[in-house]
Every structure is written in C-alpha cells, then in structure tokens.
Symmetry: C2
Subunit: 229 residues, 2 copies
C-alpha cells in the first residue's frame, strides 16, 4: 500500500516534462539541461531570493549560455513556472520519502507524530526554501501568482484526496484529521519563519507542544473543534 500511495501522489504532482522517459538522445540531452537550469534557478532562489532569479545568473551557473537558456525558456516567467512545478513535486516527494521510511514498524497510534516529525524535516530542505520565496513573491507578482496559485491548489487537493484513501481508519473523524494536517502545517511553517529570531531552543519547545497537541487530538482528549457546532 505504501509504495502504491507514494506512486499515486507523485504521479499526480509530476511535471509534464518528466512524464515520459526520453528515448532519443537529443530529448535526453534537452531534459537534462532543462533540469540543470531549473536546479540552478532553485539555487538562485535560495541564495538571492526571487529578485535574484535572473536569466544570466541561471545560465552562468549551469555553464551554458543565455541563448540556450532562452531556447528552453523563452521568458523569465517560463523558467519560474517550471521551477514552481518542480518545487511542488520535490516537496511532496521529500516528505513521502521521509515519512514512508520513518513509518516502517511504527504503531498506528503514533502515525500522526511520525508524520509531523517527517513534515518538519521536509521543511528543512532547499526546495522548501525556494517554495517560501515563490510563495511570498506570488503575493505581489500577479504573473507569478497565475502560475503559483493553481499549483498550490493542486498540491493541496492531491494531498487531501490521498490522505482520504490512505487513512480509511480516520473516516469517522475525518474533519479532525484534516484539522490536524492544517494545524501542523501552519505551526511548522510559522516556526520556520520565526526561527531566526527565537532560536533553536524555543523552536524545539514549540515543536514538542505541537506534537503533544496532535497526540491529544488523536486520543480525543481535546474536544473536537470541527465537531463542536
């Protein structure tokens, strides 16, 4: 079931570029440099922010020319769009890798805590740093938002539908399960943003609290806000 779930989710998030494995050498070369460009773009994003995602920087990092770059991505926004797809795909991939590796042999009662821990680790990746940059930039850049918002929406929907299929034991308390997801996601996201200010020690404290809350929601110790009224 595990690998099935992973495959389904990854397929749903797969950028169209990589959908079909290339056969011709030319296409292979093409997708390879395409990927190199996107990876370089992510580096730019992480190191210098969305404003630092410049065509010549990216071209320079890959070693290729700006002309090649233009061949694959006509405009800067085309590149950004590809980066968006790639980042969402990798985000789900890295979480699933971690979660499915962690979950082997874990008891059902602690699945949520394991998931929360894996989720927190998935935010420590350079892909997520790039995601943050894109997410914030999309708020003030309508062009980017036109690409980003649908991808984010799709990511959210795929996540939810897969959770429904993969955790049928939660069916009776599905609202609570969704709430846990949103809660952990929000808390971890905010924690990551505030980390530079509050420091590691306080981050660890809050993380423990979040996990505790998750466990209590699982044990129904906390009244279910989704049920209450």
């Amino acid at each position: 079931m595990a690998t099935t779930m992973q495959q389904r989710m990854l397929d749903a998030m797969l950028p169209s570029d990589l959908a079909v494995p290339p056969e011709r050498w030319q296409q292979q070369k093409s997708t390879r440099t395409r990927l190199r460009l996107v990876e370089a773009a992510i580096d730019c994003l992480v190191e210098q922010g969305y404003a630092g995602l410049t065509t010549q920087q990216v071209a320079e990092r890959t070693g290729s020319s700006r002309g090649a770059m233009h061949h694959h991505f006509a405009t800067r926004m085309d590149l950004a769009a590809a980066v968006v797809e790639h980042v969402f795909y990798q985000r789900m991939r890295s979480f699933l890798d971690d979660y499915l590796r962690s979950v082997t042999g874990a008891k059902d009662t602690s699945l949520l805590a394991v998931g929360a821990a894996a989720h927190w680790r998935s935010l420590q990746t350079r892909e997520y740093a790039a995601y943050i940059e894109l997410s914030v930039a999309a708020r003030t850049d309508p062009e980017l938002d036109k690409v980003f918002a649908p991808a984010a929406q799709r990511y959210d929907e795929v996540w939810i539908s897969e959770m429904i299929e993969s955790f049928p034991q939660w069916e009776a308390r599905w609202n609570t399960f969704k709430l846990v997801n949103d809660f952990v996601n929000a808390a971890h996201t905010g924690l990551l943003l505030n980390r530079p200010v509050v420091g590691e020690a306080r981050v660890a404290q809050v993380l423990k609290l979040v996990t505790r809350v998750v466990d209590m929601l699982h044990a129904e110790t906390l009244l279910d806000p989704a049920m209450a009224e």
Copy 2:
C-alpha cells in the same frame, strides 16, 4: 498599569527619528516628508514586494522628487532601514492598541485568549504585510539582514521583558507563558502564510484549535513541555 505598559513598550520600540517632538518648522517639515516617504515605501512593499521598493517609485508616490528622497535617505538601504524601524514600532503599537482595548473588563482567565485574538488581528495589517516582505527578503539580502535582525531581536526582547513585568501572576510558570507566546505566534504566522491556499473556513478551524490549546495550557490540562525534562 495598562497605559504605563503601553508607554514603556512603545518607548522601547520608538525609532530615534520620532523620539523628540520637533519644534522648528523646518524639522517638522523634514520629519513629515520623512514619514511620508516611509509610508510610501511601505505601500511599495505591500503592493510590489521588496524588489518593488524602488527609490523612484517611492519618490513618485509622495509627489516629491528623487532629489528630495536622496536628501533624506542617501541610499535605498537607508530607506529600507527606516522602514524596518517603523514597521516594528507600528507592529507593537497596533497590537497594544487592540489588546488594551479588548482587555477592558475581561476576566483574568481569558486574558490569554483575548491576547491571542488581538495578536491574530494585528497580523491583518498592511504593516505586517510589509514586515513579511522584509523578513523574507532579509534571509537572502545580507545588507538588509544587518538592519533587520537586530531590530527583530530587540522587538523580541522588549516583548519578553515587558510581559515579565506586566504579568507577574505567571511568574511561577514563566516557561509556560513564554511557550504560549511562541506557539501562538508561530501558529498565527503560518496560518497567515497558508491562508491563500487553505481558505477562510479552514483558517477559522485552526484558529479555534489554537485558542483551545492556549486555554488548556492556562488551565494546566496539558502537561507542561517546558517543565517536562
């Protein structure tokens, strides 16, 4: 006590510019256009992000020339620094205004919930939107970070020290109180960031849960993670 606290915190966060009320008309004029420039810069920040915070945009918005702009802020970073100070000050100000207004007549047991609600509202301001932009930009812009990080640190310290003085009844469980602060802050921050994707309904659900957790920490229903080992 309330107004005393407000005054102390605001004084501690006050940008040096506004520390002494101007007497000369020239200084009055100066600080006035200075403020107009900073406000225009915030508008730029909110509408177009940190990359859109350009000297000519700001000058154009205020109606004055780029020369005038250069007179007050020699470089773009000088303006950004002033914006940072202003934003932190306003952030604390708007929270205190809201909190002290809400707290009148509230029972002691619900003070935390009232504070959490006020905190959430204080994130819905355009100043906080500007703060987000600066916060994220500072991660990849060392120059900006050199200004931003100390300000953020100072904000955090002022906040903590004032909480210590203003809520002596929490002295015995001070670690828990600090944890509540960090927890609410993280959850609300993350919630704000994820709002465009998850939508208002789910945001409201998580908000309810956060408040519930705060209440339980107050009632010692949740084991204190700060105490546990």
